[in-house]
Protein backbone atom coordinates (compact mmCIF):
# COMPACT_ATOMS: atom_id res chain seq x y z
CA UNK A 1 0.00 0.00 0.00
CA UNK A 2 1.26 3.44 -0.88
CA UNK A 3 1.60 5.26 2.43
CA UNK A 4 2.95 8.56 1.20
CA UNK A 5 -0.34 10.47 1.23
CA UNK A 6 -2.13 11.97 4.22
CA UNK A 7 -5.32 10.05 3.52
CA UNK A 8 -3.64 6.78 4.48
CA UNK A 9 -3.01 8.18 7.99
CA UNK A 10 -6.20 10.02 9.00
CA UNK A 11 -5.14 10.70 12.60
CA UNK A 12 -1.59 11.64 11.76
CA UNK A 13 -2.77 13.68 8.81
CA UNK A 14 -5.15 15.64 11.02
CA UNK A 15 -2.37 16.23 13.53
CA UNK A 16 -0.07 17.40 10.75
CA UNK A 17 -2.60 20.07 9.82
CA UNK A 18 -2.18 21.50 13.29
CA UNK A 19 1.40 22.32 12.32
CA UNK A 20 0.25 25.21 10.25
CA UNK A 21 -1.38 26.69 13.33
CA UNK A 22 1.52 25.86 15.63
CA UNK A 23 4.25 27.35 13.42
CA UNK A 24 4.89 31.05 13.80
CA UNK A 25 7.68 31.63 11.32
CA UNK A 26 9.93 34.63 11.27
CA UNK A 27 9.19 37.09 8.55
CA UNK A 28 10.33 36.36 5.03
CA UNK A 29 9.65 34.07 2.12
CA UNK A 30 11.40 32.19 -0.70
CA UNK A 31 13.01 35.38 -1.87
CA UNK A 32 15.42 35.03 1.08
CA UNK A 33 16.81 31.91 -0.57
CA UNK A 34 17.03 33.66 -3.90
CA UNK A 35 19.07 36.42 -2.30
CA UNK A 36 21.71 33.99 -1.04
CA UNK A 37 21.73 32.14 -4.36
CA UNK A 38 22.20 35.41 -6.19
CA UNK A 39 25.22 36.27 -4.07
CA UNK A 40 26.82 32.95 -4.95
CA UNK A 41 25.86 33.29 -8.62
CA UNK A 42 27.53 36.68 -8.86
CA UNK A 43 30.69 35.34 -7.24
CA UNK A 44 30.83 32.00 -9.10
CA UNK A 45 33.64 30.86 -11.35
CA UNK A 46 32.72 29.14 -14.62
CA UNK A 47 32.49 25.33 -14.73
CA UNK A 48 35.73 25.37 -16.69
CA UNK A 49 37.40 26.68 -19.79
CA UNK A 50 37.36 25.41 -23.36
CA UNK A 51 40.26 22.98 -23.74
CA UNK A 52 43.42 24.05 -25.54
CA UNK A 53 44.05 25.27 -28.16
CA UNK A 54 42.13 28.19 -26.74
CA UNK A 55 39.68 29.56 -29.22
CA UNK A 56 37.41 32.52 -28.88
CA UNK A 57 34.06 33.57 -30.28
CA UNK A 58 31.99 31.18 -32.32
CA UNK A 59 34.83 28.69 -32.72
CA UNK A 60 34.92 28.27 -28.95
CA UNK A 61 31.14 27.91 -28.80
CA UNK A 62 31.31 25.24 -31.51
CA UNK A 63 34.08 23.34 -29.72
CA UNK A 64 32.15 23.47 -26.44
CA UNK A 65 28.99 22.17 -28.08
CA UNK A 66 30.88 19.47 -29.98
CA UNK A 67 32.27 18.30 -26.65
CA UNK A 68 28.75 18.29 -25.26
CA UNK A 69 27.46 16.16 -28.16
CA UNK A 70 30.36 13.74 -27.80
CA UNK A 71 29.63 13.28 -24.10
CA UNK A 72 25.89 12.99 -24.68
CA UNK A 73 26.18 10.38 -27.44
CA UNK A 74 28.60 8.34 -25.33
CA UNK A 75 26.30 8.42 -22.31
CA UNK A 76 23.33 7.87 -24.63
CA UNK A 77 24.88 4.63 -25.84
CA UNK A 78 24.94 3.46 -22.22
CA UNK A 79 21.30 4.49 -21.73
CA UNK A 80 20.34 2.19 -24.59
CA UNK A 81 22.48 -0.59 -23.07
CA UNK A 82 20.30 -0.19 -20.00
CA UNK A 83 17.10 -0.09 -22.06
CA UNK A 84 18.04 -3.41 -23.64
CA UNK A 85 18.16 -4.98 -20.17
CA UNK A 86 14.92 -3.29 -19.17
CA UNK A 87 13.05 -4.61 -22.20
CA UNK A 88 14.56 -8.09 -21.82
CA UNK A 89 13.22 -8.15 -18.26
CA UNK A 90 9.68 -7.45 -19.51
CA UNK A 91 9.08 -9.20 -22.83
CA UNK A 92 5.35 -8.43 -22.59
CA UNK A 93 6.01 -4.96 -23.99
CA UNK A 94 7.28 -6.63 -27.19
CA UNK A 95 9.87 -4.02 -28.05
CA UNK A 96 12.36 -5.33 -30.59
CA UNK A 97 15.80 -5.73 -29.06
CA UNK A 98 17.21 -5.62 -32.57
CA UNK A 99 15.80 -2.14 -33.09
CA UNK A 100 17.07 -0.94 -29.71
CA UNK A 101 20.50 -2.37 -30.55
CA UNK A 102 20.40 -0.56 -33.88
CA UNK A 103 19.77 2.79 -32.18
CA UNK A 104 22.41 2.01 -29.57
CA UNK A 105 25.01 1.40 -32.27
CA UNK A 106 24.06 4.60 -34.05
CA UNK A 107 24.57 6.56 -30.83
CA UNK A 108 28.03 4.99 -30.56
CA UNK A 109 28.72 5.93 -34.18
CA UNK A 110 27.68 9.49 -33.49
CA UNK A 111 30.09 9.56 -30.57
CA UNK A 112 32.90 8.54 -32.95
CA UNK A 113 31.65 10.99 -35.60
CA UNK A 114 31.78 13.94 -33.22
CA UNK A 115 35.21 12.81 -31.96
CA UNK A 116 36.52 12.86 -35.51
CA UNK A 117 34.95 16.27 -36.10
CA UNK A 118 36.68 17.70 -33.02
CA UNK A 119 39.98 16.32 -34.26
CA UNK A 120 39.45 17.77 -37.73
CA UNK A 121 39.07 21.20 -36.12
CA UNK A 122 42.28 20.79 -34.14
CA UNK A 123 40.59 19.94 -30.84
CA UNK A 124 41.15 17.16 -28.32
CA UNK A 125 38.26 14.68 -28.34
CA UNK A 126 39.34 13.25 -24.98
CA UNK A 127 38.89 16.58 -23.20
CA UNK A 128 35.72 17.39 -21.31
CA UNK A 129 34.31 20.78 -22.30
CA UNK A 130 32.19 22.83 -19.87
CA UNK A 131 28.94 21.97 -21.69
CA UNK A 132 29.98 18.30 -21.77
CA UNK A 133 30.37 18.43 -18.01
CA UNK A 134 26.97 20.05 -17.54
CA UNK A 135 25.35 17.50 -19.87
CA UNK A 136 26.81 14.83 -17.61
CA UNK A 137 25.08 16.38 -14.60
CA UNK A 138 21.81 16.59 -16.55
CA UNK A 139 22.07 12.95 -17.55
CA UNK A 140 22.50 11.55 -14.05
CA UNK A 141 18.76 11.35 -13.41
CA UNK A 142 18.17 9.57 -16.71
CA UNK A 143 20.92 7.05 -15.90
CA UNK A 144 19.36 6.38 -12.51
CA UNK A 145 15.89 5.79 -13.99
CA UNK A 146 17.14 3.50 -16.77
CA UNK A 147 19.24 1.31 -14.47
CA UNK A 148 16.82 0.94 -11.61
CA UNK A 149 15.47 -2.63 -11.55
CA UNK A 150 12.22 -1.25 -10.16
CA UNK A 151 11.32 1.07 -13.04
CA UNK A 152 8.95 -0.11 -15.75
CA UNK A 153 9.63 -0.18 -19.47
CA UNK A 154 7.33 2.83 -19.84
CA UNK A 155 9.17 4.79 -17.15
CA UNK A 156 12.50 3.94 -18.76
CA UNK A 157 11.23 4.99 -22.18
CA UNK A 158 10.00 8.26 -20.70
CA UNK A 159 13.56 8.97 -19.58
CA UNK A 160 14.89 8.00 -23.02
CA UNK A 161 12.32 10.37 -24.52
CA UNK A 162 13.78 13.22 -22.48
CA UNK A 163 17.21 12.31 -23.86
CA UNK A 164 16.10 11.99 -27.49
CA UNK A 165 14.15 15.24 -27.52
CA UNK A 166 17.17 17.06 -26.15
CA UNK A 167 19.43 15.24 -28.57
CA UNK A 168 17.38 16.28 -31.58
CA UNK A 169 17.40 19.92 -30.53
CA UNK A 170 21.13 19.75 -29.92
CA UNK A 171 21.90 18.32 -33.38
CA UNK A 172 19.86 21.14 -34.94
CA UNK A 173 21.97 23.59 -32.99
CA UNK A 174 25.21 21.91 -34.12
CA UNK A 175 24.13 22.03 -37.76
CA UNK A 176 23.41 25.73 -37.38
CA UNK A 177 26.78 26.38 -35.75
CA UNK A 178 28.77 24.44 -38.36
CA UNK A 179 26.76 26.09 -41.10
CA UNK A 180 27.64 29.52 -39.72
CA UNK A 181 31.27 28.43 -39.61
CA UNK A 182 31.01 27.53 -43.31
CA UNK A 183 32.02 23.91 -42.76
CA UNK A 184 29.90 22.18 -45.40
CA UNK A 185 31.47 18.79 -44.81
CA UNK A 186 30.42 18.78 -41.16
CA UNK A 187 27.00 20.18 -42.00
CA UNK A 188 26.44 17.20 -44.30
CA UNK A 189 27.66 14.66 -41.71
CA UNK A 190 25.68 16.23 -38.90
CA UNK A 191 22.52 16.46 -41.01
CA UNK A 192 22.75 12.73 -41.60
CA UNK A 193 23.18 12.17 -37.86
CA UNK A 194 20.23 14.46 -37.11
CA UNK A 195 18.08 12.46 -39.56
CA UNK A 196 18.83 9.23 -37.75
CA UNK A 197 18.11 10.97 -34.42
CA UNK A 198 14.70 11.99 -35.80
CA UNK A 199 14.06 8.31 -36.48
CA UNK A 200 15.15 7.43 -32.93
CA UNK A 201 12.76 10.00 -31.52
CA UNK A 202 9.83 8.75 -33.58
CA UNK A 203 10.49 5.15 -32.53
CA UNK A 204 10.90 6.01 -28.86
CA UNK A 205 7.72 8.07 -28.90
CA UNK A 206 5.80 5.17 -30.39
CA UNK A 207 7.30 2.66 -27.96
CA UNK A 208 6.60 4.91 -25.03
CA UNK A 209 3.00 5.47 -26.04
CA UNK A 210 2.39 1.75 -26.48
CA UNK A 211 4.15 0.80 -23.23
CA UNK A 212 2.40 3.51 -21.20
CA UNK A 213 -0.99 2.32 -22.47
CA UNK A 214 -0.24 -1.23 -21.37
CA UNK A 215 0.63 0.05 -17.90
Amino acid sequence: MNQSGMQTAPDGGQAMLENTELTKPRRGDESDLAKVRLEYAKDADPVGTIPEPMQSGMAAVLMDKLGERLAFERSGTRLYDALLVKCAADPSKAISSKEIKHIRDEEAMHFALVGAAIQSLGGDPTAQTPSADVAGVEGMGLMQVLNDPKTTVAQALHAILVAEMTDNAAWEELIELTSQAGNDDLVARFTKARDSELEHLAKVQAWYKAAAMKG
Binding site: V47, R74, R78, D105, D133, G136
Partner: protein, 390 residues
Protein backbone atom coordinates in the same frame (compact mmCIF):
# COMPACT_ATOMS: atom_id res chain seq x y z
CA UNK B 1 66.10 19.61 5.92
CA UNK B 2 64.47 22.17 8.18
CA UNK B 3 64.52 21.65 11.92
CA UNK B 4 61.00 20.88 13.00
CA UNK B 5 61.22 21.02 16.75
CA UNK B 6 62.15 24.72 17.05
CA UNK B 7 59.45 25.59 14.54
CA UNK B 8 56.87 23.47 16.30
CA UNK B 9 57.70 24.67 19.75
CA UNK B 10 58.26 28.30 18.80
CA UNK B 11 55.42 28.75 16.30
CA UNK B 12 52.30 28.42 18.38
CA UNK B 13 50.02 29.16 15.41
CA UNK B 14 46.64 30.79 15.95
CA UNK B 15 45.14 30.39 19.44
CA UNK B 16 41.78 28.63 19.58
CA UNK B 17 39.82 31.71 20.57
CA UNK B 18 40.83 33.34 17.29
CA UNK B 19 39.86 30.36 15.13
CA UNK B 20 36.51 31.56 13.83
CA UNK B 21 34.12 30.72 11.01
CA UNK B 22 30.82 31.78 9.50
CA UNK B 23 28.46 29.63 7.45
CA UNK B 24 29.35 31.72 4.39
CA UNK B 25 33.02 31.08 5.11
CA UNK B 26 32.44 27.32 5.33
CA UNK B 27 30.70 27.19 1.98
CA UNK B 28 33.18 28.66 -0.46
CA UNK B 29 33.42 28.37 -4.23
CA UNK B 30 34.24 24.78 -5.20
CA UNK B 31 37.27 24.00 -7.34
CA UNK B 32 36.85 23.51 -11.08
CA UNK B 33 36.64 19.85 -12.00
CA UNK B 34 37.98 20.69 -15.45
CA UNK B 35 40.58 23.38 -14.84
CA UNK B 36 42.14 22.70 -11.45
CA UNK B 37 45.04 20.28 -11.23
CA UNK B 38 44.05 16.76 -10.19
CA UNK B 39 46.33 17.04 -7.15
CA UNK B 40 44.33 19.99 -5.82
CA UNK B 41 41.38 17.58 -5.68
CA UNK B 42 43.65 14.90 -4.22
CA UNK B 43 44.70 17.30 -1.44
CA UNK B 44 41.08 18.22 -0.69
CA UNK B 45 40.14 14.56 -0.33
CA UNK B 46 43.25 13.76 1.68
CA UNK B 47 42.77 16.61 4.14
CA UNK B 48 39.07 15.87 4.55
CA UNK B 49 40.14 12.35 5.47
CA UNK B 50 42.72 13.62 7.95
CA UNK B 51 40.12 15.87 9.58
CA UNK B 52 37.48 13.16 9.75
CA UNK B 53 39.94 10.79 11.39
CA UNK B 54 40.76 13.55 13.88
CA UNK B 55 37.04 13.79 14.61
CA UNK B 56 36.65 10.02 14.97
CA UNK B 57 39.65 9.79 17.29
CA UNK B 58 38.54 12.77 19.34
CA UNK B 59 35.14 11.23 20.02
CA UNK B 60 36.69 7.90 21.07
CA UNK B 61 39.17 9.69 23.30
CA UNK B 62 36.42 11.78 24.92
CA UNK B 63 34.42 8.65 25.72
CA UNK B 64 37.37 7.22 27.63
CA UNK B 65 38.82 10.35 29.30
CA UNK B 66 36.55 12.58 31.36
CA UNK B 67 39.32 15.05 32.08
CA UNK B 68 39.91 15.67 28.38
CA UNK B 69 36.32 16.06 27.30
CA UNK B 70 36.19 19.85 27.37
CA UNK B 71 39.42 20.57 25.44
CA UNK B 72 38.64 17.78 22.99
CA UNK B 73 35.18 19.26 22.37
CA UNK B 74 36.70 22.69 21.77
CA UNK B 75 39.23 21.44 19.22
CA UNK B 76 36.72 19.08 17.66
CA UNK B 77 34.31 21.93 16.91
CA UNK B 78 37.03 23.77 15.00
CA UNK B 79 38.04 20.63 13.15
CA UNK B 80 34.43 19.93 12.24
CA UNK B 81 34.36 23.26 10.47
CA UNK B 82 37.76 22.74 8.88
CA UNK B 83 36.52 19.43 7.45
CA UNK B 84 33.37 21.10 6.18
CA UNK B 85 35.16 23.92 4.43
CA UNK B 86 37.53 21.45 2.79
CA UNK B 87 35.02 18.80 1.74
CA UNK B 88 32.62 21.40 0.34
CA UNK B 89 35.34 22.43 -2.14
CA UNK B 90 34.51 19.38 -4.26
CA UNK B 91 32.27 20.64 -7.05
CA UNK B 92 28.75 19.20 -7.42
CA UNK B 93 29.41 18.43 -11.08
CA UNK B 94 31.42 15.42 -9.90
CA UNK B 95 29.12 12.42 -9.90
CA UNK B 96 29.67 10.20 -6.86
CA UNK B 97 31.48 7.77 -9.15
CA UNK B 98 33.76 10.50 -10.51
CA UNK B 99 34.59 11.49 -6.93
CA UNK B 100 35.27 7.80 -6.30
CA UNK B 101 37.88 7.86 -9.07
CA UNK B 102 39.51 10.78 -7.28
CA UNK B 103 39.43 8.90 -3.95
CA UNK B 104 41.28 6.01 -5.58
CA UNK B 105 43.80 8.45 -7.05
CA UNK B 106 44.49 9.58 -3.48
CA UNK B 107 44.80 5.96 -2.36
CA UNK B 108 47.24 5.15 -5.16
CA UNK B 109 49.47 8.19 -5.45
CA UNK B 110 49.65 9.10 -1.77
CA UNK B 111 50.17 5.49 -0.65
CA UNK B 112 52.84 4.99 -3.33
CA UNK B 113 54.66 8.14 -2.19
CA UNK B 114 54.48 6.93 1.41
CA UNK B 115 55.71 3.44 0.46
CA UNK B 116 58.69 4.94 -1.39
CA UNK B 117 59.72 7.13 1.54
CA UNK B 118 58.88 4.85 4.46
CA UNK B 119 62.07 4.07 6.42
CA UNK B 120 60.76 0.83 7.95
CA UNK B 121 60.99 -1.98 5.39
CA UNK B 122 58.12 -4.01 6.88
CA UNK B 123 55.77 -1.00 6.88
CA UNK B 124 56.85 -0.12 3.34
CA UNK B 125 55.86 -3.63 2.31
CA UNK B 126 52.47 -3.21 3.98
CA UNK B 127 51.86 0.02 2.04
CA UNK B 128 52.88 -1.62 -1.24
CA UNK B 129 50.53 -4.48 -0.43
CA UNK B 130 47.57 -2.14 0.08
CA UNK B 131 48.56 0.00 -2.87
CA UNK B 132 48.11 -2.80 -5.40
CA UNK B 133 44.61 -3.43 -4.09
CA UNK B 134 43.50 0.19 -4.42
CA UNK B 135 45.13 0.18 -7.84
CA UNK B 136 42.76 -2.58 -8.89
CA UNK B 137 39.78 -0.66 -7.50
CA UNK B 138 40.64 2.20 -9.87
CA UNK B 139 40.43 -0.20 -12.82
CA UNK B 140 37.07 -1.62 -11.69
CA UNK B 141 35.50 1.79 -10.99
CA UNK B 142 36.79 3.16 -14.30
CA UNK B 143 35.04 0.30 -16.09
CA UNK B 144 31.84 1.12 -14.20
CA UNK B 145 32.12 4.83 -15.01
CA UNK B 146 32.49 4.09 -18.72
CA UNK B 147 29.83 1.40 -18.82
CA UNK B 148 27.23 3.05 -16.59
CA UNK B 149 27.60 6.83 -16.96
CA UNK B 150 29.46 6.84 -20.29
CA UNK B 151 32.36 8.88 -18.94
CA UNK B 152 36.15 8.65 -19.08
CA UNK B 153 37.92 8.29 -15.71
CA UNK B 154 40.95 9.98 -17.21
CA UNK B 155 39.10 13.31 -17.25
CA UNK B 156 39.49 13.11 -13.47
CA UNK B 157 42.94 11.50 -13.39
CA UNK B 158 44.45 13.91 -15.95
CA UNK B 159 46.83 11.15 -17.16
CA UNK B 160 48.76 11.10 -13.86
CA UNK B 161 47.56 7.67 -12.74
CA UNK B 162 47.28 4.40 -14.65
CA UNK B 163 44.06 2.44 -15.18
CA UNK B 164 45.15 -1.19 -15.12
CA UNK B 165 44.24 -4.34 -13.22
CA UNK B 166 46.16 -4.73 -9.96
CA UNK B 167 45.78 -7.53 -7.42
CA UNK B 168 42.32 -8.65 -8.51
CA UNK B 169 39.66 -7.37 -6.12
CA UNK B 170 38.10 -10.84 -6.16
CA UNK B 171 41.31 -12.09 -4.45
CA UNK B 172 41.52 -9.27 -1.88
CA UNK B 173 38.87 -10.67 0.44
CA UNK B 174 40.61 -12.08 3.49
CA UNK B 175 39.77 -13.46 6.89
CA UNK B 176 39.98 -10.69 9.51
CA UNK B 177 43.01 -12.28 11.14
CA UNK B 178 44.94 -11.88 7.89
CA UNK B 179 44.33 -8.13 7.84
CA UNK B 180 46.13 -7.48 11.11
CA UNK B 181 49.76 -6.39 10.78
CA UNK B 182 52.54 -5.79 13.30
CA UNK B 183 52.59 -2.31 14.86
CA UNK B 184 55.58 -0.01 14.88
CA UNK B 185 57.23 0.42 18.28
CA UNK B 186 56.34 3.86 19.65
CA UNK B 187 59.67 4.11 21.46
CA UNK B 188 61.89 3.40 18.47
CA UNK B 189 59.88 4.13 15.30
CA UNK B 190 60.93 7.06 13.15
CA UNK B 191 58.56 10.03 13.47
CA UNK B 192 57.96 9.80 9.74
CA UNK B 193 56.67 6.24 10.17
CA UNK B 194 54.09 7.46 12.69
CA UNK B 195 53.01 10.30 10.39
CA UNK B 196 52.76 7.96 7.41
CA UNK B 197 50.66 5.43 9.32
CA UNK B 198 48.16 8.00 10.58
CA UNK B 199 47.94 9.66 7.17
CA UNK B 200 47.17 6.48 5.25
CA UNK B 201 44.86 5.12 7.92
CA UNK B 202 42.91 8.40 7.81
CA UNK B 203 42.61 8.28 4.02
CA UNK B 204 41.39 4.69 4.08
CA UNK B 205 38.81 5.14 6.82
CA UNK B 206 37.41 8.13 4.95
CA UNK B 207 37.22 6.10 1.73
CA UNK B 208 35.39 3.36 3.61
CA UNK B 209 32.86 5.86 4.98
CA UNK B 210 32.41 7.48 1.59
CA UNK B 211 31.65 4.18 -0.17
CA UNK B 212 29.27 3.13 2.59
CA UNK B 213 27.34 6.37 2.07
CA UNK B 214 27.23 6.63 -1.70
CA UNK B 215 26.93 2.93 -2.62
CA UNK B 216 23.17 2.88 -2.05
CA UNK B 217 22.70 6.11 -4.00
CA UNK B 218 23.11 4.25 -7.28
CA UNK B 219 20.10 2.48 -8.82
CA UNK B 220 22.21 0.08 -10.89
CA UNK B 221 22.50 -3.26 -9.07
CA UNK B 222 26.00 -3.81 -10.47
CA UNK B 223 27.12 -0.46 -9.07
CA UNK B 224 25.50 -1.24 -5.71
CA UNK B 225 27.27 -4.60 -5.65
CA UNK B 226 30.63 -3.12 -6.62
CA UNK B 227 30.45 -0.48 -3.88
CA UNK B 228 29.43 -3.19 -1.41
CA UNK B 229 32.44 -5.29 -2.42
CA UNK B 230 35.02 -2.51 -2.43
CA UNK B 231 33.68 -0.96 0.77
CA UNK B 232 34.41 -4.31 2.37
CA UNK B 233 38.03 -4.08 1.20
CA UNK B 234 38.30 -0.53 2.52
CA UNK B 235 37.11 -1.86 5.86
CA UNK B 236 39.92 -4.43 5.63
CA UNK B 237 42.39 -1.68 4.75
CA UNK B 238 41.30 0.41 7.72
CA UNK B 239 41.84 -2.65 9.88
CA UNK B 240 45.27 -3.18 8.34
CA UNK B 241 46.45 0.40 8.69
CA UNK B 242 45.20 0.95 12.22
CA UNK B 243 46.98 -2.24 13.26
CA UNK B 244 50.40 -0.86 12.27
CA UNK B 245 49.98 1.92 14.85
CA UNK B 246 51.38 1.09 18.29
CA UNK B 247 48.41 0.47 20.62
CA UNK B 248 50.69 1.20 23.59
CA UNK B 249 50.67 4.92 22.84
CA UNK B 250 48.67 6.73 25.52
CA UNK B 251 45.49 8.59 24.60
CA UNK B 252 47.27 11.92 24.92
CA UNK B 253 50.24 10.71 22.94
CA UNK B 254 47.85 9.68 20.19
CA UNK B 255 46.12 13.05 20.35
CA UNK B 256 49.42 14.87 19.95
CA UNK B 257 50.32 12.60 17.03
CA UNK B 258 46.98 13.31 15.36
CA UNK B 259 47.57 17.04 15.62
CA UNK B 260 51.12 16.59 14.38
CA UNK B 261 49.83 14.62 11.38
CA UNK B 262 47.48 17.47 10.58
CA UNK B 263 50.29 20.02 10.84
CA UNK B 264 52.52 17.84 8.67
CA UNK B 265 49.93 17.35 5.94
CA UNK B 266 48.64 20.93 5.86
CA UNK B 267 52.24 22.01 5.51
CA UNK B 268 52.72 19.59 2.61
CA UNK B 269 49.53 20.86 0.97
CA UNK B 270 50.56 24.48 1.39
CA UNK B 271 53.97 23.81 -0.13
CA UNK B 272 52.60 22.02 -3.18
CA UNK B 273 49.28 23.76 -3.91
CA UNK B 274 48.91 25.34 -7.36
CA UNK B 275 45.59 27.14 -6.78
CA UNK B 276 46.31 30.32 -4.77
CA UNK B 277 42.84 30.48 -3.22
CA UNK B 278 43.11 26.92 -1.96
CA UNK B 279 46.72 27.46 -0.86
CA UNK B 280 45.49 30.26 1.41
CA UNK B 281 43.11 27.78 3.07
CA UNK B 282 45.96 25.31 3.68
CA UNK B 283 48.05 28.09 5.18
CA UNK B 284 45.21 29.27 7.43
CA UNK B 285 44.54 25.73 8.64
CA UNK B 286 48.23 25.03 9.20
CA UNK B 287 48.19 27.91 11.66
CA UNK B 288 45.03 26.57 13.26
CA UNK B 289 46.60 23.13 13.65
CA UNK B 290 49.69 24.55 15.28
CA UNK B 291 47.29 26.05 17.82
CA UNK B 292 45.68 22.64 18.36
CA UNK B 293 49.06 20.95 18.65
CA UNK B 294 50.18 23.32 21.36
CA UNK B 295 46.97 22.84 23.27
CA UNK B 296 47.44 19.06 23.13
CA UNK B 297 51.08 19.42 24.17
CA UNK B 298 50.14 21.47 27.22
CA UNK B 299 47.69 18.78 28.27
CA UNK B 300 50.29 16.11 27.59
CA UNK B 301 52.70 17.88 29.95
CA UNK B 302 50.01 18.49 32.57
CA UNK B 303 48.44 15.03 32.69
CA UNK B 304 51.31 12.75 31.78
CA UNK B 305 54.15 14.80 33.26
CA UNK B 306 56.13 13.97 30.15
CA UNK B 307 58.38 16.10 28.02
CA UNK B 308 56.93 16.80 24.56
CA UNK B 309 60.40 16.28 23.14
CA UNK B 310 59.91 12.61 23.92
CA UNK B 311 57.35 12.27 21.14
CA UNK B 312 58.01 15.21 18.82
CA UNK B 313 60.25 14.56 15.81
CA UNK B 314 63.74 15.99 15.75
CA UNK B 315 63.32 17.49 12.33
CA UNK B 316 60.55 18.25 9.93
CA UNK B 317 60.21 15.36 7.51
CA UNK B 318 59.93 16.31 3.89
CA UNK B 319 56.26 16.52 2.83
CA UNK B 320 54.62 13.54 1.18
CA UNK B 321 54.98 14.30 -2.52
CA UNK B 322 51.68 14.87 -4.31
CA UNK B 323 52.63 13.64 -7.74
CA UNK B 324 52.32 10.83 -10.24
CA UNK B 325 54.10 7.68 -9.04
CA UNK B 326 53.53 5.74 -12.26
CA UNK B 327 56.94 4.08 -12.45
CA UNK B 328 56.99 2.98 -8.81
CA UNK B 329 53.47 1.60 -9.09
CA UNK B 330 54.29 -0.30 -12.28
CA UNK B 331 57.42 -1.80 -10.70
CA UNK B 332 55.47 -2.81 -7.62
CA UNK B 333 52.76 -4.30 -9.78
CA UNK B 334 55.26 -6.33 -11.77
CA UNK B 335 56.99 -7.69 -8.68
CA UNK B 336 54.31 -8.03 -5.99
CA UNK B 337 50.87 -8.53 -7.50
CA UNK B 338 50.84 -12.20 -6.50
CA UNK B 339 51.67 -11.59 -2.85
CA UNK B 340 49.06 -12.46 -0.24
CA UNK B 341 48.74 -12.10 3.54
CA UNK B 342 49.08 -14.78 6.17
CA UNK B 343 48.57 -13.35 9.63
CA UNK B 344 50.80 -10.30 9.88
CA UNK B 345 53.14 -11.49 7.14
CA UNK B 346 53.03 -10.70 3.43
CA UNK B 347 53.69 -14.00 1.70
CA UNK B 348 53.73 -15.66 -1.73
CA UNK B 349 50.37 -16.81 -3.06
CA UNK B 350 51.12 -20.44 -2.20
CA UNK B 351 51.55 -19.58 1.51
CA UNK B 352 48.20 -17.89 1.99
CA UNK B 353 46.18 -19.04 5.01
CA UNK B 354 43.26 -21.45 4.61
CA UNK B 355 40.88 -19.19 6.49
CA UNK B 356 41.16 -16.40 3.93
CA UNK B 357 40.75 -18.81 1.04
CA UNK B 358 37.63 -20.26 2.58
CA UNK B 359 36.18 -16.81 3.44
CA UNK B 360 36.81 -15.61 -0.10
CA UNK B 361 35.23 -18.67 -1.61
CA UNK B 362 32.07 -18.04 0.39
CA UNK B 363 31.86 -14.32 -0.44
CA UNK B 364 32.41 -14.93 -4.16
CA UNK B 365 30.16 -17.99 -4.35
CA UNK B 366 27.24 -16.10 -5.92
CA UNK B 367 29.31 -14.07 -8.33
CA UNK B 368 31.94 -11.37 -8.21
CA UNK B 369 30.85 -7.76 -8.83
CA UNK B 370 34.40 -6.60 -9.55
CA UNK B 371 34.87 -9.30 -12.17
CA UNK B 372 31.47 -8.69 -13.74
CA UNK B 373 31.88 -4.94 -14.05
CA UNK B 374 35.26 -5.13 -15.80
CA UNK B 375 34.69 -8.21 -17.97
CA UNK B 376 36.85 -7.68 -21.05
CA UNK B 377 37.45 -4.04 -20.12
CA UNK B 378 40.49 -2.17 -21.36
CA UNK B 379 40.76 1.54 -20.75
CA UNK B 380 40.94 3.56 -23.98
CA UNK B 381 41.03 7.34 -24.55
CA UNK B 382 37.48 8.66 -24.28
CA UNK B 383 35.79 5.30 -23.83
CA UNK B 384 36.10 1.66 -24.73
CA UNK B 385 33.31 2.42 -27.22
CA UNK B 386 35.74 4.26 -29.40
CA UNK B 387 37.80 1.13 -29.92
CA UNK B 388 34.83 -0.72 -31.27
CA UNK B 389 33.36 1.91 -33.54
CA UNK B 390 36.26 4.01 -34.78
Amino acid sequence: MRRMKPTLLENRGVPLERQKFTWRDLVQKPISKLDDDAYTRVRIILMNGIELEANRFSHSCARMNKALQAPLAQVRRIEQHQATMINWLIGPDHSPLETTIAYEQVAIDITAAVAMNEPDSYLAQVYRFGLLEDFDHMYRYSALLDRLEGKDANNILQSYTDILPGRPTIDEHRAPVDDLRKPYDRTSAAPLSKLHALTIMSAEQQTHNFYMNIGPMYSDPVARQLYAEIASIEEQHTTQYESIIDPEESWLEKWVLHELTEVYNYHGCMEQESNPRIKAIWERFLDYELGHLHMALELFKKHEKRDPEEILPESLPEPIPHASQREFVRETLAGEVDLRANGAEIVPKSKEGKESISYRKQMNSEGSPSETVAAGYKWAPGSELKLKVA
